[in-house]
């Protein structure tokens, strides 16, 4: 049924359609509306057969999820940013134990400095924690990915994280097709656990594993994710057959045939990039976009095949590996090892900085000339950082950086947007 609905509420409805038996979560912006919606559905009897457990922290939330999943209950939780960090030990335990929990991550920056807005720092902080990690481009896809996530998680007995851009998706009201309960029931069979804690048939989970067996357990976790490389596109195809729409999959290419330049990105910014591609294509630029739908497992082969023919690859990412540069870009370079493509890292949208087409266009124009630099920060206020670097060099007790930058930005004026954006210039 088509609805004009807030992304968070659409996701809550989709999760309810998956008939979770235990939901436990601790509220944190920008994920809160999802679990608020679910708690209301449990309370008003909309969602039956489900226990909503209030917990005192994110660490407790995922710990409860681990317990309920181990007991054989379909289990869901959600978090963001610092909340994910607070549950970190349990994040590794959930995957290490092979428990098919589905968790939404309302992607948000990580402090300090504290920032509630969107980027992918939180997701990148758990990129090696053993979870399958999917990214949604739209709220429709966010809905669809949750339904696919339970199927994938339970088949492989591996936790799945559905990443949705905080605010940009979670707080956007737009058209979403909410599936019928019968459709979801037909697509998603009841949870049939590969391991279950049952007093009638006692067994242990979570053994201490020494040097003689640890490597093998880890190898099998990797093996599961390699299996997911096959199952993710298969499940997306099954989803399309059942629901009639393309959602999910490992990667998606947009106007990449014959492209000289391909932009690689994850999440909602792909929508903006598609508009940019159409505009530039109309002006004769051969450019396309590859959307990474699955970051874990990382589809090296699919990414290589999609990008091989492009002279230039721009990896736009909403995270920064401090002291290194791009994270997704490193993955893309790994996929393209041995190939001569030029790969550029474009760090954009950190801490919620808007990613604007005029700025993207200006960068694409510069990339066409194939400069030698590697990492570029979109719309970085160079006047601010240069001045701050000079001041730090001149004064020993230069003080806290965040406060200094805030003062300087205020003094130079609030305007963080390029003039071209405000005057509406288009290349």
């Amino acid at each position: 049924m088509l609805k004009q609905i807030e992304g968070s509420h659409a996701m809550a409805e989709a999760i309810a359609l998956c008939r979770p038996e235990v939901i436990c979560a601790y509220p944190i912006t920008p994920q809160t509306h999802i679990v608020e919606g679910l708690s209301a559905m449990v309370r008003d009897g909309h969602l039956t057969g489900c226990e909503f457990i209030n917990v005192e922290s994110e660490f407790a939330a995922l710990s409860v999820a681990i317990g309920s999943s181990a007991a054989g209950a379909r289990t869901y939780t959600a978090t963001a940013s610092q909340g994910l960090l607070f549950m970190m030990e349990a994040v590794y335990n959930a995957s290490g134990l092979g428990l098919p929990i589905v968790m939404t991550l309302g992607n948000r920056a990580i402090g300090a400095p504290i920032n509630i807005w969107n980027d992918h720092s939180d997701a990148m902080s758990v990129r090696d924690a053993g979870w399958i990690m999917l990214f949604a481009e739209t709220n429709q896809e966010a809905v669809d990915l949750h339904i696919q996530a339970f199927k994938l998680a339970e088949e492989l007995s591996c936790p799945v994280m559905v990443n949705v851009d905080g605010f940009i998706l979670t707080h956007a009201v737009e058209r979403v097709d909410i599936p019928d309960p019968e459709q979801v029931d037909a697509f998603l069979p009841p949870f049939d656990p590969v391991q279950v804690l049952d007093p009638a048939s006692p067994m242990s989970m979570g053994a201490m594993v020494g040097p003689d067996a640890f490597m093998e357990v880890r190898y099998l976790a990797h093996h599961k994710q390699m299996q997911a490389l096959d199952r993710i596109p298969e499940i997306a195809a099954e989803f399309k057959a059942a629901f009639g729409r393309e959602s999910g999959g490992l990667i998606r290419c947009y106007r990449c045939d014959d492209a000289d330049t391909i932009v690689v990105a994850m999440g909602s910014v792909v929508g903006t990039l598609k508009d940019m591609v159409d505009t530039r294509r109309a002006a004769g630029d051969r450019i396309g976009v590859v959307s990474i739908g699955a970051f874990r497992p990382f589809p090296l082969e699919e990414v290589r095949n999609a990008l091989m023919g492009a002279r230039r690859v721009v990896v736009l990412e909403k995270a920064l590996a401090v002291g290194m540069g791009g994270i997704l870009a490193s993955h893309v370079r790994m996929a393209l090892r041995g190939h001569p493509n030029r790969v550029y890292t474009l760090i954009a949208g950190l801490g919620g900085r808007p990613i604007l087409q005029p700025s993207l266009n200006a960068f694409m124009d510069r990339v066409a000339a194939e400069p030698h630099y590697d990492v570029h920060f979109l719309d970085l206020r160079e006047d601010v950082v240069e001045a701050e670097i000079a001041r730090m060099a001149a004064e020993r007790r230069s003080g806290p950086i965040a406060e200094n930058v805030l003062r300087r930005v205020a003094a130079l004026g609030q305007m963080m947007l390029p003039d071209a954006a405000v005057t509406g210039d288009r290349p």
């Binding site: 956007a172 737009e174 058209r175 909602s268 954006a421 509406g424």
Partner: protein
């Protein structure tokens, strides 16, 4: 694509206004995207929200920097926020006030818009009469329908009813109709 930016203060229903407008467009079978300015909103603090309406899928996730219309829910914002930023001369402006442009010190700016594109409507007072509280958002949507012709008033009314079921919704619908008539006259 038609893009609308709402300016107001926390507590005036700025975010809800954009959402209701998107629902009205949805009811007409159109694509619409409403979203807030993603701040940590506090009562009384300047708040911005956005709505895009189009006949095809809306893909961009940018904030609206070049709006086709600006709705100002609080005329005291002119002192602190450049609500006209990016608005072209062909754009539409709707301001919730009973004062004239000169009193608000915006007569210079308002002069650049074509006849009929810039209007004021005492939406808070209309709301006080019909709803009993000076919440201007629903009334302003009625004014928006009249000034821009981008949406039918019936769709606005239905969107208000869906957002606020019951007597509160009906009162807001009456306020929206009153503002609609005010702006058509």
């Amino acid at each position: 694509m038609f893009q609308i930016r709402f300016h107001g203060r926390g507590g005036q229903g700025v975010v809800t206004a954009a959402e209701m407008l998107s629902v009205a467009a949805f009811l007409e079978g159109r694509h619409a995207q409403a979203f807030p300015s993603f701040g940590s909103e506090r009562t009384g603090a300047p708040v911005v929200s956005f709505c895009r309406i189009d006949d095809t899928e809306i893909r961009t996730r940018e904030p609206i920097l070049v709006p086709d219309a600006v709705i100002v829910q609080d005329p005291t914002l002119f002192h602190s926020v450049d609500v006209f930023q990016g608005l072209p001369d062909s754009g539409y402006v709707l301001i919730n006030t009973s004062a004239d442009y000169k009193t608000l010190h915006i007569d210079g700016v308002m002069g650049r818009f074509p006849p009929g594109h810039a209007r004021t409507v005492p939406a808070s007072e209309i709301a006080r009469v019909h709803v009993g509280r000076p919440l201007p958002n629903a009334a302003l949507l009625g004014g928006f329908a009249a000034v821009t012709g981008q949406i039918h008033m019936d769709s606005v009314a239905e969107a208000i009813r869906r957002t606020f079921p019951g007597p509160v919704g009906e009162a807001n619908v009456r306020a929206a109709w009153a503002a609609y008539e005010h702006c058509r006259s």
